[in-house]
Structure formats: structure tokens, C-alpha cells
Symmetry: C2
Subunit: 645 residues, 2 copies
Amino acid sequence: MSDLKLITKFEVADGFWGRYAGLVRDVVLPYQENALNDRIEDAEKSHCIENFRMAAEKLRTGKCDGEFYGMVFQDSDAAKWLEGAAYSLAQYPDAELERRCDEIIDLIGEAQHEDGYLNTYFTVKEPDKRWTNLHEAHELYCAGHMIEAAVAYAECTGKTKLLEIMRRMADHIYRHFIEEGAEGYPGHPEIELALMRLYRCTGEDKYRELALHFINVRGVNSDYYSQEKKRTPWSVWGFNPNNPIDKEYAQHAAPVRMQSKAVGHAVRAVYLYTGMADAALETGDNSLTDACKTLWNNITQCRMYVTGAIGSAYEGEAFTKDYHLPNDTAYAETCAAIGLIFFSNKMLYLERDGKYADVIERALYNCVLAGMQLDGTRFFYVNPLEVLPGISGQAQTHRHTLPVRPKWFACACCPPNVARLLSSISEYTWHTVSGKLFSNLYVGGTLDVSDMFGGKITLHTDYPYDNKVAYHFEPEGESMTVPLAIRIPAWSENTVIRLNNQAAEYEIRDGYAYLRGEFRDTDIVTVELDMTARKIYTSSKVSANTGKAAIERGPLIYCAEGVDNGDDVLSLSLKRGGAITVGEYLPGKLCGIRELYAEGYKEAEQKELYSYEAPAAEECTITLIPYYAWGNRGLNPMRVWIPEK
Amino acid sequence: MSDLKLITKFEVADGFWGRYAGLVRDVVLPYQENALNDRIEDAEKSHCIENFRMAAEKLRTGKCDGEFYGMVFQDSDAAKWLEGAAYSLAQYPDAELERRCDEIIDLIGEAQHEDGYLNTYFTVKEPDKRWTNLHEAHELYCAGHMIEAAVAYAECTGKTKLLEIMRRMADHIYRHFIEEGAEGYPGHPEIELALMRLYRCTGEDKYRELALHFINVRGVNSDYYSQEKKRTPWSVWGFNPNNPIDKEYAQHAAPVRMQSKAVGHAVRAVYLYTGMADAALETGDNSLTDACKTLWNNITQCRMYVTGAIGSAYEGEAFTKDYHLPNDTAYAETCAAIGLIFFSNKMLYLERDGKYADVIERALYNCVLAGMQLDGTRFFYVNPLEVLPGISGQAQTHRHTLPVRPKWFACACCPPNVARLLSSISEYTWHTVSGKLFSNLYVGGTLDVSDMFGGKITLHTDYPYDNKVAYHFEPEGESMTVPLAIRIPAWSENTVIRLNNQAAEYEIRDGYAYLRGEFRDTDIVTVELDMTARKIYTSSKVSANTGKAAIERGPLIYCAEGVDNGDDVLSLSLKRGGAITVGEYLPGKLCGIRELYAEGYKEAEQKELYSYEAPAAEECTITLIPYYAWGNRGLNPMRVWIPEK
């Protein structure tokens, strides 16, 4: 097992992430609990908990009233919610919430078959069809999410009931696929990364073996799904079994080590790569590491939006082709950006290169946060970089790019995924490996590393709006020895690191400043990041962004919304070489932001569709807000990439 | 009946249109005849003529071998080809071609039922289902095209056999829908405009009545198709009869006089509007005229590409929303641009405003001509304004935007539509109404108006590459009196009109110069158009074109192709205020063009996807070619709208 240690003893303090942690606790988790229990008015029904009740009843009595409702993977919504609740409980003990979680866990236990099998869709609706449709039926996907929840719940609360339930399910899967030699691999990857977590949590080798099995067999027989369809011709989604199967969609066109382009359904892709990277970390398998690097580079250098979003097309919720990054029709699913964070985090563990944390930060502060309304009650599944009222959400090609966040979704993968990510921010903030402590993100709060380094470290910051980050050391004894590696983001061109207001000694390597030495009680390491607001440009291979710039300050991508700019953003252009002014911190606006003000031009409205006159344009100041805060003030045009004149 | 007269006695001379007329005669018609007879290797099979053979055999013997093959509207391909052949025969008598046309007409006659019904799909495949699926089955559409062919063949060759066949079919339709009172209206409009032609050709009122009937009932019962599906639940396309029917797709959400936005399938829309405008012309129905004006304005002011293409989305081959004009994913079907020409031409007859001819010219010289390879053997169905190799034709969202013209299509509506349009260019070039002769397009050739104005007029020009157009008069007697109205395109800012090298007397009204007077044998009216190469800009409401300009000279939209610009067009930008130089006429390049050379910049290749440096750019000369000639030199990036710096 690698000597990587994840840090759970981190208490997020007030400030940017404190607000989100509180929001998850006070609003998001309760709201989503209500949604899973169908208690939200005017929202899509979930039926998720009810499905578990029905499965339990059927196992108890042999039958149940009513019908399974929802997606074939509806169980996973409860799993992701439980996982998020677990993380929240670790930070904010809440006996009542924990009791309700325990109740759901009891219910899940009751819905488990004696042989360990657990899946309400199959128990309630298709009891004879277990494991006959790996292509569509998401059994391994749901198992994976519930395993993640089980590990998180055990680690955060010390309670192992769900862990035992899911070990029995994992053992069931092991028997089926390893001992009984069943062929196949999951249509939607997730089980791989979950089994790696289960392995790390339990120390049980067979879970790692099973994860590696699914990784290794994937795409070796690239016709597996068509053979499966021929053998057991039933379909969850009503696919015509005679239609050819798109082998890119679920990343099985070739064995995973032969894959060099990120293709197909973007969430499936990054979940798979996360499992691969984690397996590489735990096995030292260089061929797997190399495949992960190739795929990560392909994503981040050819297929990623500036917001950290991935998946350019609604069709297949998928990656498309290199440099195809349309803004207004972007799919850019919230879950896919979350998956990219998972993948990048494993790559960071593997390689300790700040570029991975840069991508985590980009996806987190931009696409993922945009996925949730600031008040935590509405969610985006799709995160376009341009919104055109009258077209977005309405034209045939834009039905998916809703301009306002809906309350819930028939396919509700994203909301609980956001909740579990936001409540597990510590995992991305800190880790230790090879005896070093890595500070990856700037999240205010107190880290207890007494067991490893003999003390605590408190990080004070008003990041991402302020550029100063201070590490206060609190040794248990007189001093603590911490080999501390602080990530210096690539966007910070001039960074100043001081120890007690003196130049600190450190070495910069791969995006990290490596400090050495003992720290005493009053020692403070400060990092002053270069938060100059800057324009960012895209390679001209990306057609959608030619002649345009976006604006970034620190980790935040900014955008122009109509409400701040005379209700129109398409008429705006940036002035080449024009200044960008950073506004005061506005605590009352959009839950606290700084606006940016860019010198630009506003075109007069042109009456004709086409005209021979260059449109008249006046100098103007363009007001920009952080992308994550867009769409919180009603229907409104929005644009990230703005022409530059 | 209106006093509109279409002019058939116009002989296209050498030059731009002479080449096309020759190409249609020598290449396009023979090639398409081979295609209809399945004699083209490596191309999609047509089976069109074979379907007629099978239908004839079945009527003769009660059965036939083989199966109907192709689209439900496959018959219309033969109709459009016959119509094109008829126009060509009028210009270039060819006994052998005429003999083959007569043979096909004989075959069509043999495929007609005794009651006049004619449709090979129904005769061969679904003999019991006539008239039970107006929504999908294209019976009225096929009838309409064959009626058009019949009228054209009669007018061009004097032979009326096909006309008699199609009168019997029209009479059959009249009995079914008028006398027997069958409900419904065609899923794909076409019959309306065809019946108006049949009425004008035969003078038979019932055909006008029938056209008006289909126009007037459309959308009055907007649920007709769902009721039809319930009554006779069968589907040509495999639609689920329980799925709701999109009422915009076939323009039946409301009665036609209530429609104010051009919606749905673009070809259906403009064919419908063409019939409506023609009916308005023949009835003086102002409410119909007003609806046509509103729809035409909506198209040309909110939904038309600068190439005259329409239909922004592959999904439904359809119009989308106002100002939604994406370049790389444009559907922009060749047939839709042709339909826009039909519609605009009827509007021109109605209103005599040059703006309609401007749109005809824009669609004709740009989108329609681009629909055919310069050698006449390959065709585009879809005409994007930007081609990105590696993405176009390959990404999920770009499967329809092929970067190279295919040989033929399973749905082969466009190729014969181009043929019939190019061979009937005289219809758009000249017309007379209210005793005036209108010169709408500048097509070199000789017009014989002896019957109306006592002489001939020969137009000499090297248009569209040269700006001079000369009208030479050849009166039969000493002089001819011709009230001549010459269209002055909106793009020609400074136009000089002379009579025998002296300032001519004329009055400009609605885009036409109205000349008066007698012309003698040596009289020459010359028009010098202002063909300055100019940049054109789009309203900033069109997201795809913000910050960009296109370049136009005369009627031609230009584009940059990779082959002329170092294999890359996305790195190019135009210099704001930069000069555009008009090149020499190059007879050997792309069948004779002038290139344009624009001052611009070329960005250095940026290694990273995103970068904080404005990309380095060098001054360069951008070489542009006419849009219609793109894609004739292999796989190649192409761009019409180019950022301007």
C-alpha cells in the first residue's frame, strides 16, 4: 500500500469554504434528504428512499406494493447523499442527522439479499436479471457509490454497519466475477475507484484485486456488450439490440492501457481514469501510470473548458474531438468536472506536480461551484460558458443548456455529487506522502497533524478574493518539524513566501514550494500570491474562442452577465491592452464577491442583420462577476469569452 | 390571373452561367440520370427508376419482383431530374436526351393507376394505405414535384403526355380532398406551389382552388396529424405513435395567416411560403400577402446566413430561433436555399422590390452554387460556413457537416434540385409584369421579347467577376419600346447607368432603375456596378459572429481556405480598417475566379490550450476565394467569418 495519507482532521473555518460547509450542512443535505424522500414540491420525484423500502419489504414478505421508480441507478443518489452527510458529520457532529443516516443504513441493510447482493432496481423490478446487462444496468456503479458512502461513513463516524453491508456486496461481486469467472466489465465505471477506497480502508487485498480485474479486462474483448445483448436481449433504455454499440461511449474500444484520447461519456471516462490512477498508485504499474498521464494531458491540453468543465456535447454527454469547445452548447456536466477533480487528485498523489492541483482548483472554483445556486437549493447539470436567452434552453441544439437552475432532476446525479465534494474539501486541501505535508488548496481552517508532525497548523485567508495566505503553527511541544510543501499556482507569476515576515527558505519544484525546518508556536508562514486580474487566451485551434479573451483573477474565471451590463453582453468587446480593475470586496453581493471592471467597448444596436458599416462602438466599462455566481439573478445573458478589439 | 409573364425565350451565353448551363447539360443531368438508374459506382443506390418499373409491372401483372427501395419520396428525384432536363432541352435541343425523357415519362404513365393515382411507394409497398399518413408519407409532395416536371416539360418541349398524366393525378387529389371531403394537409408542402404552376399552365381554376384549399386548411386543426395517427397507426419512419407531434416541424401549429416566425423544417417552410406567395399573387389576398411579408422578413432579418442559407440546426433540418446562426454546425441545406429563392422570386413578383432579388442572388451565388462541386459530380446537402478538419463530419455534433462533397445521398433531394434551378436561371433573370420588363439578375445571353416588345435584348457581361453589364438592343423594326427596370443591388453603393455612353435617364424605385424610351439597333445601356470588396458585419445579436467580419464583393461572399493560407484559417484575423485588394481574374483557378487579398494577422501557434500571453501575431495577407468554390481541393479548413482586430 502506498504511504499516502488522506487527512480527515481538518476543520474548515469561516470564510469562503466555511460558508459552503455551513450551506451543505444547513441547506443542501436537508434539501436533498427531502428530495430523496419526495418532499420537495414542484420538483421531479426521486423515489430513491421509497425504492429501498420496497426492496426491503419484498425481501421480508416476498412481495411489495408499488413499482420501482426512477433511473436504473437511482440507488446511487442515496449513496452520494450519505457520503456527503458523513463528511459533514465529521466536521459538524449532529446526533439527529446521524440518527437519520443510521435509519437509512438500516433500511439499506434490510434491502440486501442474503448473498450480499444489493440493488433495488433488480430486487423490485427485475429479480431474475442480475448481472445480465452490465452495459446498461449500473449495478456495479450503484455498488461503487454505496461502497464509497460506506467507507466515508465508517471513517467519519466510526460506525461500520454500512461498511459491513458493502463488504458483503463486494464479496458477492468478487465471487461472481473472480471465483465464478463471469465475463464483463461495468458500463459505467465507478466500482474500480470505490474498490480501491475499500481496499485502503479495510486492508483487504481482494478488493484491490477486484478493482484491477475490472480495469484490466475492460476493452480486451471490445465486443463484450454486443455478445451480452445477444445472450440476454433486454434493454433498460429501450435500445434496439441490433444497433451497433458505440465503443467509445463507455471507453471499451481498446484495453485501458492502449487508450490515448479521452472519449465517450465524460463522467464514465474520468471515473474510470480515477480508478486507474488509484490502482497505479497502489501497484506501481508504470503502464497504467503512463496511460493516465496521456489521458490527463489529452483532457487538459485539448478537451477542457477554461472553467475546468469537460464534455463538449450533449449527444452522449460526451467528449468530442480535440479543440472542440463550443461555449453555448457545452454539455460540461457538473459531475464530469467533479470526476476530473477526482482523477487529478489521484494524479497529484502519483506525481506530486502542482499542475494537477491547478486543474482541481480550476474545476472546483468555477464549474463545480456554478453547478449549485448560491443558496444551495437549485442545481445545474449542464454548465455552458455562454447563455443566450431565447436560444439557450429553447433551440433544438440548446435544450440542455438551461439558463436558470432547476430544483431537481429526473437524473439527479449532480446535486448529491456536489454535496459530497464540498463536504470533503479537506481531501483536496491537504495530503501527506513520503513524510511530507502537501498544502494543495487554500482553505481557511485548522489542520490537526499531531499524530504525524506533533501539532496543528491553522491556515488564515480570505482566499479566493484576497491574495494572502498565512500558515500559523501550533506545536504540541516547543516546536514541530513539518516538511511542508505549499502549492504555488501556475497563475501566480510573482509569489512571495515569508517566515515571520522575513524571506523564507524554500525550493520550488513542480509547482510546490518545499519548506524545511522546525516551526515554533508563534511562527507564521505567509504566502502572497499574485492575483493580478489577467486576460487569458485560447489556442487558435479552438474555433469558438478565436479573437476572444476571458478574464481570470486567482483561481476564479469571470464572466459578464446582462444584469450588470445593460442587459446585453454580446455587444461588448474588451479593449486590447485595456486595464482591468479589481473592485472592493462586496459582502452583500452574490454572497460576497469582488467584481472586475474591464475597459471595453459597447456596440450600438444594429438594426439590420447584416451591414457594411463596422458597427458603431463606444468605450465602456465591462462589469464582470465570478463565473461560479452566474445565473443567480434570473434569466440573463452571460458570456465568459469576449471578443477583444 | 395576374399579368405576370415568365420568360422562357432566353438563351444563356458563355461566361459564368454559360459554364453552368453546359455543365448541367453535359455532366449533371447525365450523372444524375446514371444515379437514378443505379449506374454510379461507390455511390448510395437510388433505385428511383427501378421503383417506377416495379410499380408499372405490378399494375400490369398484379405483382412484381423485388422491393421498393429508398425514401418514401424517392419518386421526386425523377421528377426533379425531368424538370431540370426539360429546362436544358429548351436551351439545348438534344433528341437523344428527349427520347430518354419520353421513355421515363412512358414508364411513369405505366405506373399510374386507372383512377389517376401515382406513387411507387404506395403502389409497390403499401397499396392499401393511400392517403392515410399525410404526416409522413410525402404523397402530395411527390405529386407536386411531378406536376412541376410536367408543366416544365410541356412548356419547354411542347409535349403534354406527362402534363396529362399529372392532370389526372391532380384531378384524383381534387376528388379525394375536395369532392370527397377528405381532411388533412401535406406533411411536406410542395403541392401548393405545384398546383399554382399547373393552374397557370392549364388555366384550370380547380387547381388554384385545390392549392388554396391546402393552404387554407393548414394548421386550422393543428391536431390533424395526431388524429390521423390514432385512426391509422402506421409509421414510415418508425415514429412512436404515442410521441407528441412537433407542430412547428411541418408548420401547422397555427393557420398560415397567423404564422409570424419561420419555424420547423426549413425546406418545408419555404416551399409552403412559395405556394402562399404565389396564391396571394393570383388571388390578391392581402392577408396572405401580409403573412408572406412577415415570414420573409423574419427569415432574412433574423434567420438567414450571409450566404443566403437557412436552417440552423441538423435536428429537424430546421429553423431554430432568431439570431441563432452557428457557422460550423449550420445545417444550411442546399434545398432550403433553393426554396428561399423560389419564395423570394414570388415575393418579387408580388412587390417588385429589389430586396427580394438581392436575396435570390445571395442564395444563388453562394449557398446553392456551393452545393455542387465545380465539376458537377459531387454535392453538398449541408453548407456550413466554417469547416474544422478533425471535427467537421466527425464530432457527434458535426456528423452532418461533411468537409468534402459526397457523390450521392440516400436522401438525394439536393442534387436534382440544383440541376433544375441552374437550368431554369432565366426564370429568375427576367420577368414582365404590368407591361414592364424586369431585369433581375445579370446573366449574359439573349432575350427574345419580340412578341411583347418587338425585338431582342442581349446582355453582355463578365459578371460576377466584372462590374460592367451592357444591354444591347436588337429591335425587329427601327426601334423597340421597352419599359426596362434594371435591378440595382443594395451592395452597389455607386452605380452608373449610361445610354450610349451618356448619362441615362431613369428613376430609382425600390432597388430598380426604371428606364423609359425607345431603343434603336445600336443602342447600348451600360450599368457599372460598385464592386468594391467590402467587409460585412453581423448584428451583435448573433453570438457566432461577434467581433468578426466576412468579405463580400458584388454578389459573392468570400472565404478563407487552408490550402491558400498555410493550411490554417483559425489563426487568421482581419486588420481593422485594412485594405482588401481584388486579384486578377484567374481563368485556370477553380473554373475561373478572382481572389481577394485582405490585410490581416496570423497568430503563431500556441502550444498550450490556455495562456496568459496574448498570442504573438504577424501581419499577413489573407487569401480569400468565393465561398461557392470552397471544398474543391480536398479536406481543408474553411472560414467565412473571421475575427477582426
